[in-house]
Amino acid sequence: MLARTVTHALVGLEARRVEVEVQFRHGVPAFTIVGLPDRACQEAKVRVKSGIAAAEIRLESAKITVNLAPAALRKEGSGYDLPIALAILAAAREIPVGSLAEHASVGELALDGRIRPVGGVLAAAEGARRNGLSRLLCAAESAPEAELAGVEPVPLRHLSEAVSYLRGESEPPAVASQNGHGPPPAHPDLRDVRGQERARRALELAAAGSHNLLLAGPPGTGKTMLARRLPGILPPLAPDERLEVTRIHSVAGLLSAERPLVTLPPFRAPHHSASMAAIVGGGSGPRPGEATLAHRGVLLLDELPEFVRPALEALRQPLEDGVVSVARAGGHCIFPARFQLVATMNLCPCGARGDPRVECSCSPQRLAAFRDKLSRALLDRFDLVVTVPRARAQELAAAEGETSEPVRERVAAARARLRTDAAAIRRSPAADDLLTRAVDRLPLSGRGRARVARVARTVAALAGADEVAPEHVAEALSYRSPSELSS
C-alpha cells in the first residue's frame, strides 16, 4: 500500500517541495529511507518507530520503504520525522489516505511521541502556501510562525493529536496569536555612557543614516559599550522588512516562541574567532552566516583586526551589493545581507597607542602587520571613523548621559526625512566648494568623496535643515579615517 504527503526542504532560505512516499508491504520487517537523507534524517527511523508506538498504534510487521522525492535533492535535519510518520500511518491505513491532502507537515519527533519544533517553519509555510496547500501540521511552538505566512497552522503537541485530527475525531486547538505579547528584548541604554560626546554623536549619525561606523582607540575607553547601544536607538523595522528578517531567523532557528515576528532590527556580534563561512554563510547545503542574520540590522565586529583576513575581505561583497553569494559543490545560494557594519579596534596590537599614560611597546614590524590586516578597501567602507580617547576621571564621575529614548526619536525623524526627500536635500554652493577644497587637500578617493557627501546629508537631515550647508560637510569630513589607520 502506498501513501504520500508533502513537506519542504530548505535550500538556503528557499523552501522546496518534497514528497514523502511510503510503501508499506507485508513481509520481512525492514525500514529503509532513500532520497539522499543525511545522518539526522536517516535516524528518523528510530524516532518514528518509537513515536508511533508511543501514540499507542501497533503496526503489523512490514517492509517499509520511504522515498523522499526529488531524490537528487539532499535532505537535511530532523524536520522529516513528522511527515514520514504520517505517511507511514496513512500507508498502513491507520489514518485515512485522503486526509493528508491539502496538508503539509514539518516537525521532529521525540521518543515519547511529542512533537518538537524545528527551524525554517516560516519558509516551509510559505512554500506550502505557494504550492496551494492550506494547512501546515507543525509543533505547537511553531504555529505562530506558520501563521505569519498566511497558512492555517495545525498546532500539535503529540503524534496522537495528529492522528485523531486526521481521523476527523477532534479539531486541533486554536492558535492564540502571540505576536507582540512577549516583552521586547531589552537593549542597553545610552544613559550608561558618560562623556564621549563625539563618539555618541557619531553613533547617532550612524543610526540616522545607516552608516558603517568604526570606533578606534585604546582598550577600556568604551568602544564596545558604545557599539552595543546602537540597536537601542534604531527605529523598528518597516512592515515589509519584518517578514524578510523573520524568514532568515526562522531558518537559523533563532526565533523565540513568544515573539516569532521580528520587529526590531537584528543585532549580531560574532566572536573574532569566527571563520569566513560563519560570517558570510556556507556549509555543504549553504546556510546563512552572521552577515545574513544581521540583514536589516547591525553587524558588530568587536576587535576588527583580530578577525581572520578572509572573513573580513568576504564582507566587501555584501557591503557593496547587500547580498552574499555562496557557491558550494552542493549548490549555489544568494543570501540577503544588507546590514550596517559597526566595528571596534585598538590602534596597535598592544593597545597602548592613543593612551597618553602608557607607552606602546609594539615593534614597527608588528604595527605594520597589524595595519596590513585591514585593507584600504575595507577601511574605505566605513563612513564614520571615530577615535575614542581615554576619558578623564572627572568625565567618568560626571552625571549620566542622555538616554536612548530621545536619541531614537531624533533618529526616526531624520530617517523619515531621508526616506521621503533625500533627493531634495541638496548641497548649497558653499558646501560644494568646501567639499571640492577637501578633495584637493586630503587623500580622498572618489568613494571617499561620495561617502562624505552622504554623511553630510545625514547631518543635515538630523539638524532638520533644508539643504546641506558647509558646516554639515565640515562635520562629515571630521569622521573620515585618520591617517594612523591607513599609513
Binding site: G195, Q196, E197, R198, R200, R201, G217, L347, R353, G354, P356, E359, C360, C362, S363, P364, L367, A368, T387, V388, P389, A391, R392, E395, L434, R437, A438, R441, L442, V459, L462, A463, E471, H472, A474, E475, A476, L477, S478, Y479, P482, S483, E484
Partner: protein, 323 residues
C-alpha cells in the same frame, strides 16, 4: 679619482667599511682588474651617480668631517649643488609617538618652506615624517641610506623614496647591492650629521641612533637642536638628556631658522573661534566641547575646518596645533 670608485665597490664586495684605499694585496689586485669606465656607464644607465671625495661636486660640509666617505652614490635628477645648500637634519625615533610624528612633519614642512634642505635617513617614524613634511611644502629633501644606493629600505617607503628622487636626492656611501646591516646605520648617521649645518632631534629613547647623529654633529661643531618632550615618556628620555647636557631647545621651526638668519614664514590669520580652540590644545574633542560649551556636531565642523586650513592636526583622537 677612479681609485675612489674602486675603493667603494671593493668595500661593497668584501663587506668592509672603508674610508680610504687599503694597503692590501687583495685590493691592489681588485683595483688592477676594476673597469671604472664600464662601472660608471652601468651606474649611468640605472640613473645613479658617483661623486668621489676629491671630485669638485663633493659636498663641502661632508668633506669637512673627521672621516668622510671615499665618495657618495647619488640617486635623483636634481643637481649636486643641492647638497651644498644650507640644510638641517631632522632625526628621531622610528617608533615615535603621534606628537613626535606631527612635530617632525611640521619642522620638515616649515624648514623646507623657508628654503632649507631637510636631511634625514628614510627610516620609519620621525625620519619619514620629516621627509614628507618637506615634500608637502614643495621643498627639497635629502635621504641618506644605510644600505646600497639602489635599495629602498625599509621597503614600505618605496613610494616616499620615489617622491624624494623626484624633488630631492638620495645619497649613500654604499655601492648598489649592499644589504642593510645594523652597523651601517651609525656610519650612515655621520653622513647625515656631516651634510647638515644643524641637526634637530625630535624624539629619542635613551639609546637611540638619533643620539649618535647628535653626538657626531657636536663633534663636528655643528648646531644641535632638541625638541623637548614629556619628562615621564621613555620616548623623550634621550632628547631631554641632550637638553640637560646643553643642547639648544627647539620650540618651533623659528628657533632653527633664527640660527640661519632666516625669518619664519607668516602664519594664517585665525578666527576668534579658532583662537579659542588653539588656546586649549592639545586636547581631545570631548574636552574641547566641554570647555567651549559646544555640541559635538558643531565642534566637529569647527575642528574639520581648522584641519583643512592646516592649523590643527588630529592623531589618535587628540588635536594639536600644527604651528
Amino acid at each position: 679619482m677612479r681609485d675612489e670608485l674602486a675603493v667603494a665597490v671593493f668595500a661593497a664586495e668584501t663587506g668592509f667599511h672603508l674610508v680610504s684605499a687599503p694597503e692590501s694585496g687583495r685590493f691592489r689586485r681588485f683595483a688592477a682588474g676594476f673597469e671604472g669606465q664600464a662601472y660608471r656607464a652601468e651606474l649611468d644607465r640605472r640613473g645613479l651617480r658617483f661623486v668621489g671625495r676629491s671630485a669638485p661636486g663633493f659636498p663641502r660640509s661632508l668633506a669637512a668631517i673627521f672621516d668622510p666617505p671615499v665618495g657618495i652614490f647619488v640617486r635623483g635628477t636634481q643637481p649636486l649643488e643641492l647638497l651644498d645648500r644650507p640644510s638641517v637634519a631632522v632625526v628621531g625615533a622610528r617608533t615615535c609617538s603621534a606628537y613626535g610624528a606631527q612635530t617632525a612633519r611640521m619642522l620638515g614642512r616649515e624648514l623646507a618652506q623657508a628654503g632649507l634642505v631637510v636631511v634625514s635617513g628614510l627610516a620609519r617614524g620621525v625620519d619619514a615624517e620629516a621627509h614628507r613634511g618637506a615634500l608637502e611644502a614643495g621643498g627639497a629633501t635629502v635621504a641618506v641610506l644605510g644600505c646600497g644606493i639602489d635599495r629602498d629600505y625599509p621597503a614600505s617607503h618605496r613610494e616616499l623614496a620615489r617622491s624624494i628622487v623626484r624633488d630631492g636626492l638620495i645619497v649613500s656611501e654604499y655601492a648598489p647591492g649592499v644589504e642593510p646591516a645594523p652597523w651601517r646605520f651609525p656610519a650612515r648617521n655621520r653622513i647625515i650629521a656631516g651634510l647638515a649645518a644643524a641637526t634637530v632631534v625630535v624624539e629619542a629613547r635613551e639609546r637611540s641612533g638619533a643620539l649618535i647623529t647628535a653626538d657626531l654633529a657636536l663633534e663636528e661643531g655643528r648646531e644641535v637642536f632638541t625638541v623637548p618632550g614629556e619628562i615621564t615618556s621613555a620616548l623623550s628620555k634621550g632628547t631631554n638628556a641632550l637638553l640637560r647636557l646643553g643642547a639648544t631647545a627647539c620650540t618651533g621651526s623659528a628657533d632653527v631658522l633664527e640660527s640661519f638668519g632666516l625669518e619664519p614664514p607668516p602664519g594664517a590669520e585665525a578666527s576668534p573661534d579658532a583662537a579659542r580652540v588653539l588656546e586649549l590644545l592639545p586636547a581631545g574633542a570631548d574636552e574641547l566641547g566641554r570647555a567651549l560649551r559646544l555640541d559635538a556636531g558643531p565642534l566637529a565642523a569647527l575642528l574639520a575646518e581648522l584641519e583643512l586650513t592646516g592649523v590643527v592636526v588630529e592623531a589618535e583622537g587628540v588635536y594639536r596645533t600644527s604651528r
